[in-house]
Symmetry: C2
Subunit: 292 residues, 2 copies
Amino acid sequence: MAYIFFGEISGVIEGDTFQSRKELSKAGVHRPLQGGIDGNSIQGTSSIVLSGGYLDDEDHGNEIIYTGHGGNDSNGRRIKDQSWYSYGNRGLLISELHGHPVRVTRGANHISKFSPKKGYQYGGLYQVTEHFWKKDEGKFGVCIFKLAKISALSSTDILKGIIDLSPENGIPSKRIPTTILRIVRDTKLSKAIKELYNYTCQVCGIRISFNGIGYAEGAHIRPLGTPHNGADAIGNLLCLCPNHHVMYDKGYFRIDENFSLIGIDGSLSIHKNHQIDIVNIKYHCDLFNFEQ
Amino acid sequence: MAYIFFGEISGVIEGDTFQSRKELSKAGVHRPLQGGIDGNSIQGTSSIVLSGGYLDDEDHGNEIIYTGHGGNDSNGRRIKDQSWYSYGNRGLLISELHGHPVRVTRGANHISKFSPKKGYQYGGLYQVTEHFWKKDEGKFGVCIFKLAKISALSSTDILKGIIDLSPENGIPSKRIPTTILRIVRDTKLSKAIKELYNYTCQVCGIRISFNGIGYAEGAHIRPLGTPHNGADAIGNLLCLCPNHHVMYDKGYFRIDENFSLIGIDGSLSIHKNHQIDIVNIKYHCDLFNFEQ
């Protein structure tokens, strides 16, 4: 399988321009010379190029509504439903569920005020946040993806876990505090731990999957951030379903040194290649070691 | 039960100063004239005043490590373990798990560079993001809370669902993309729906609870934001456990017009006072209505 590189390309920054698809490919930003989607249906999509564009595409800069791949004849006329199994659409779905970033490049012929005058312009990293199905003018089904720009907010802005939002559907003139309850950070290492366990929860064995694509969360044993300063390391990570992630973070259950669970029945499933640092297990245990 | 007001006080903005606890109380920012915690053990904590301070307190401005209430004799000397059942500590725990904002005021005698020279200064809204147990100098157990400031980021910055973070434990000079996979917004209405169902998932009936305090998530049926523009309204909300929230948002299962589940077994439990807008159910159903 060809190697796919997710994330920033060394030496290329947002706003960089390229004369041609060949140049864009050579830089490693987007390898195929023709196709708009770089990646495959197993590892995911790492890059898209916006050019021309479908009727349903919307480019709001930080937010892009992107029509998937396929369903057209050789003249670009839609003649059938798109498929979630085509390499491009399935790749985007994998990137959404597994949390891979997607590089976005805009071509001059992409109809958007964010497009360059000529050639191609790298627009930065985006995250696929949604996928859904839409009937194109009531006839053919198309696969739609929503991409949102990964912005450069500082960790201190975000790691608090809660952010005050402006209203979306509220009264515009009034500031309505809308809070975020849970954020789940996805680091390179948390991706590795999820892959090791094939997106299966180490506590309950559940594997949330959509069309074969798993969803799980990387949970830090000793918490990141002040005052715990846990490491983002494999030995400090667990692969959990969202329910057990919340429960572990809040101390609803703990894990003892023999990997038995305290507070709920059962014991932790551990892959032979997963070396959990017992010091971290002990740290978490002490955090919630009180009589309830 | 006394009425507790969570959130911003009309006419009071961050940075406002008050001569005395009496003035602070009159403004409605923090009602008790003595106690540092305003609220109760049923609805939660709505406000704290930082003054004097415990050994374990840390004030980093945007992030506060706060020692809970109790365990001291009348001279302020710690003589026993603190309790998670004291009104203040349990109130803070409820505010953490239910997502209530907490007003933070600093007194002049609070040892911190963020303290006012004299009197009291309102420091804005914070969220309780963590609670944990700590042995004070190896003797008595104390209840520690972490509070993080709710910042005024715009919805377009945040609603994308994914945010690029600076490294915490990585190489400081290198920008490591750390992404957020899931954000769960907690609006006033989503709090209402969670209370209506007593934090019980409408799909599986699970009630994640810690010491009797429930945790659930308010899930929008027709998604908020572009291009769906669903309403933040009771008729567009469900009370779900984190697992079923992810699964519903990603289309792993759908709900038909008779409230039977499609994709998984079962049917939706609906409270008699919960009027779900069937148009929203239909909208979500169409989003994921394709052959897999």
